[in-house]
């Protein structure tokens, strides 16, 4: 079977999976107590029946449940994510507005964690049992075990409040009117703390996994053969051990990549980063059904997409894996 037919088959299954996810999410959300009309009316601090009825009618909540579901699924099939009545904008626009900030944050964190994680894991495995190895693994354990929320707050406290080196929150300096390079540098400055905070956890995961996997593979027979051939230590590690040891890391990276678009609720909240994670969280609190469903659906699509991508990457990294595997 060629790669292409394999991918097409996977995509067809993916479409069905997505539709099932959409319907399931719809049921789940509507099962939660409260509805957007009451929340919106409640925030006004006063409401009469007329107001709640008006809102329900506008939101389409006065319709029978199956009609609401039918309308929603009908829209999804036509790639229409619906309208957010709370924010008075199409859901697709809300998500697209937040996408750049989210991708910038999650991709940077992803890059940092993957590159540093693998590099440190390889370094640590090469020095197994030595003091530097112990130091690295202890550090990784610390990052792995520390709650993200606390780490973020501490980073702000140290680097922003005490040292004053980096801005503690936000996407860029508000109202400074920077353009071009200055603006890019400004955003970069704002990016450092949240991206590092978010990246550290996964960095620790990748590092521990790479290290363990490297150590395991280095015991295998073909490594002895390579040594017997007289290859140098670094060459064996790079071409023989790492290539084989990286597969579990790719699996994990694929899982993490699937969540890139979903954003990072905690990091985005602490650092006031205007990303999708916050959009989802705030919409959930407001029971802004269409927006939450939209974010869920886009995230689900990304998870499926990256699963497929991961499978392709497997085959590049390890040609022994066939298309049907």
């Amino acid at each position: 079977m060629s790669i292409l037919t394999a991918i097409l088959g996977r995509l067809a299954k993916a479409a069905l999976t997505l539709l099932a996810i959409a319907v399931l999410n719809f049921f789940l959300l509507h099962a939660a107590p409260g509805d957007p009309a009451v929340v919106l009316a409640g925030e006004a601090g006063a409401a009469d029946e007329q107001m709640i009825e008006q809102l329900r009618e506008r939101f389409g909540l006065d319709q029978p449940f199956y009609v609401q579901l039918g309308k929603y699924v009908g829209g999804i099939v036509q790639l229409d994510l619906g309208y957010s009545f709370r924010q008075d904008a199409p859901v697709s626009q809300l998500i697209l507005d937040r996408l750049p900030a989210t991708l910038l944050l999650t991709l940077t964190a992803f890059g940092i964690s993957l590159v540093c994680g693998i590099a440190l894991g390889v370094a640590s495995a090469a020095r197994v049992g030595k003091a530097s190895d112990s130091a690295l693994t202890t550090l990784a354990l610390l990052f792995y075990a520390t709650p993200l929320y606390w780490l973020a707050l501490m980073a702000v406290l140290v680097f922003s409040v005490w040292l004053g080196w980096l801005p503690g929150f936000g996407y860029e300096t508000v109202g400074a009117g920077y353009t071009g390079i200055t603006r890019a540098l400004d955003i970069l400055q704002h990016l450092i703390l949240p991206a590092l905070t978010l990246g550290l956890f996964f960095m620790a995961v990748y590092m521990r996994m790479t290290r363990a996997s490297m150590l395991e593979v280095s015991q295998l027979d073909f490594v002895k053969t390579a040594k017997a051939k007289g290859l140098s230590g670094p060459a064996i590690r790079r071409r023989h051990i790492l290539r084989n040891a990286i597969l579990p890391v790719v699996t994990l990276a694929g899982l993490q990549a699937g969540q890139l678009v979903g954003g990072a609720v905690l990091t985005e909240t602490v650092f006031a980063w205007p990303g999708i994670g916050r959009l989802m969280f705030e919409s959930l609190a407001a029971r802004d059904y269409n927006t939450i469903l939209g974010v869920f659906l886009v995230s689900a699509a990304m998870v499926i997409l990256f699963n497929i991508v991961t499978d392709i990457v497997y085959r590049i990294v390890d040609p022994r894996i066939g298309a049907t595997a």
Partner: protein, 516 residues
């Protein structure tokens, strides 16, 4: 006595605030807004964050000082007829909408009679007393009432009756008008930009009809979702103003102790947020008046104020806040008296039935408050289970009466007929909304008094009836009054004249200026 005190304080403050320097123009103010408002069209959305931001864009006919005395805004003067039925407003001249169109009395008539009647639940209740609204000429508006309605003079606040542009909204579907995204008002600041999730930017209205105002060039409302991050934003100088309630209470003393930082509890008089626990009057132990009284005696509300609220606020003694008109202190005082509580419980034969307590899901302070209540009540043998949920779940449970005790707080809008009676009269017992008589208190005799007091012309007559109501209702304990909440505003001391009205920061930037 209290008014005399207030007046003296005011004079002293005025004397202190009048040294011989001019007000500096220019500069920008960064204010925290939390949570991000769902929209800025004040005629459609009236939640707290929307009022905070849109209060600079839109205006009403009057403004109210911190003693709730009305003053001019879009109306430069006004008269009320002796029978309390005819309110005549003379409007400012030369007022323009932000898009350059002239403002006139027609806009006021359209706003009150057409737009807000359809969209504004709270104003609709007051408009029920109005017979007709007319504009005899371009600068005069006359409201004629069907019967006198004492609190009507309080209806002309920005969040209550925002004046919206007729030329943009007439004949359109208000809720879906594209102009809602770029609101047009008459206020001192114009809408410029809303970067969702980050900030809202307002710029000075150069054509504002009062010479010399506003002083500021621009105002940024910053969206920072985490309470600790908001405190940090103030510490690092990113923001200049933390409106009341935007940081957790335990952060306030630390921030207030910083250099060049001032705090004020003023600017909430119009709202006078009043916190209580609804006690379900229909079923369970809370249906027994003795149980409800026992709850009052069991609680050490002074302690809760000092510990949970860091000393901010005042223990509530009546359904009417001491900051609202017609407050009376001639009522039973429920001091912390566990023995009395135990005696009441023994008398009613309380059998230890579990009661569910629903905290308000507005952050850590409220959670701790609920825990303090549980501890106090368990000391007298009441078995309390805390039943936590999120905002939507809280709305659903309280609106459907699925609780035994539930925290809440409501604004009073300066008058018992606007913000107090709605929680106690039988005609406001309606499932489906948590902003009415949720506890199910039914007292026909008092209902008649609430109704009578609302439509009396003379304030002294109203005061007498309201005092009678307060005396009686406090003995019934339909709800457990907790505290008159105080949300201190924290700001840099060089920001001057920030809080001058009873709605505080909501229309504060109009007069604010930054001392150089």
């Amino acid at each position: 006595m209290q008014h005399l005190l207030k007046a003296t304080t005011f004079l002293v403050a005025a004397a202190l605030a009048a040294p011989a320097f001019a007000q500096d123009d220019g500069g920008r103010l960064d204010i925290v807004v939390q949570p991000e408002p769902p929209g800025l069209m004040l005629g459609l959305v009236q939640n707290g964050p929307t009022q905070l931001v849109a209060g600079d864009i839109f205006e009403s006919l009057l403004r109210y000082d911190t003693d709730l005395v009305p003053g001019p805004s879009l109306a430069k003067s006004w008269e009320i007829s002796d029978d309390g039925l005819v309110y005549t407003f003379h409007l400012q001249e030369g007022v323009k909408w932000h898009d350059g169109e002239p403002f006139s009395a027609d806009d006021v008539v359209f706003s009150a009679d057409v737009f807000l009647r359809e969209t504004h639940a709270r104003l609709r209740a007051s408009l029920a007393y109005v017979d007709k609204i007319e504009a005899p000429d371009a600068n005069t508006v006359v409201f004629t009432l069907k019967e006198p309605f004492g609190p009507f003079i309080n209806a002309f606040e920005t969040g209550t009756m925002p004046i919206v542009p007729k030329h943009i909204y007439e004949g359109t579907d208000f809720a879906n008008n594209p102009a809602n995204a770029t609101p047009i008002g008459t206020g001192p600041f114009k809408f410029d930009k809303w970067e969702k999730g980050s900030y809202i930017h307002l710029v000075k209205n150069e054509d504002y009809y009062i010479d010399g105002l506003p002083h500021l060039d621009e105002v940024f409302y910053r969206v920072i979702p985490d309470a600790a991050a908001r405190a940090v934003a103030f510490e690092t100088g990113e923001v200049d103003v933390l409106p009341g309630g935007s940081v957790e209470n335990w952060d306030i003393p630390r921030l207030a102790a910083m250099d060049n930082v001032c705090t004020t509890g003023k600017g909430w008089e119009f709202f006078a947020p009043h916190a209580w626990m609804w006690l379900n009057n229909r079923e369970g132990p809370t249906a027994d008046k003795r149980f409800r009284q026992a709850v009052m005696y069991a609680m050490d509300r002074e302690f809760m104020k000092d510990v949970v609220w860091n000393g901010y606020g005042k223990v509530a003694t009546s359904p009417v806040s001491s900051r609202t008109n017609f407050y009376s202190d001639d009522t039973t005082m429920y001091n912390h008296d566990p023995e009395k509580a135990k005696a009441l419980l023994a008398e009613m034969g309380y059998d230890g039935t579990e009661v569910r307590l629903l905290p308000l899901p507005y952050g850590e302070t409220w959670q701790r408050w609920a825990e303090a209540v549980r501890q106090n009540l368990s000391e007298v043998g009441i078995n309390v289970q805390i039943d936590s949920t999120d905002v939507a779940g809280w709305n659903e449970k309280t609106a459907n009466w699925d609780y035994d005790m539930a925290f809440t707080y409501l604004y009073q809008y300066g008058d018992p007929a606007l913000g107090v009676s709605r929680n106690y009269t039988a005609d406001r017992i309606k499932k489906g909304s948590p902003w009415n008589n949720v506890e199910g208190y039914d007292n026909p005799e008092l209902d008649a008094k609430w109704a009578a007091a609302a439509t009396m012309v003379k304030p002294e007559d109203r005061a007498k009836i309201y005092a009678e109501i307060q005396k009686e209702i406090v003995d019934d304990v339909p709800v457990a009054w907790m505290q008159e909440l105080e949300f201190p505003t924290i700001y840099r001391c060089n920001v001057q004249d920030l809080v001058t009205t009873g709605i505080g920061i909501n229309d504060g930037p109009r007069n604010a200026w930054i001392k150089k």
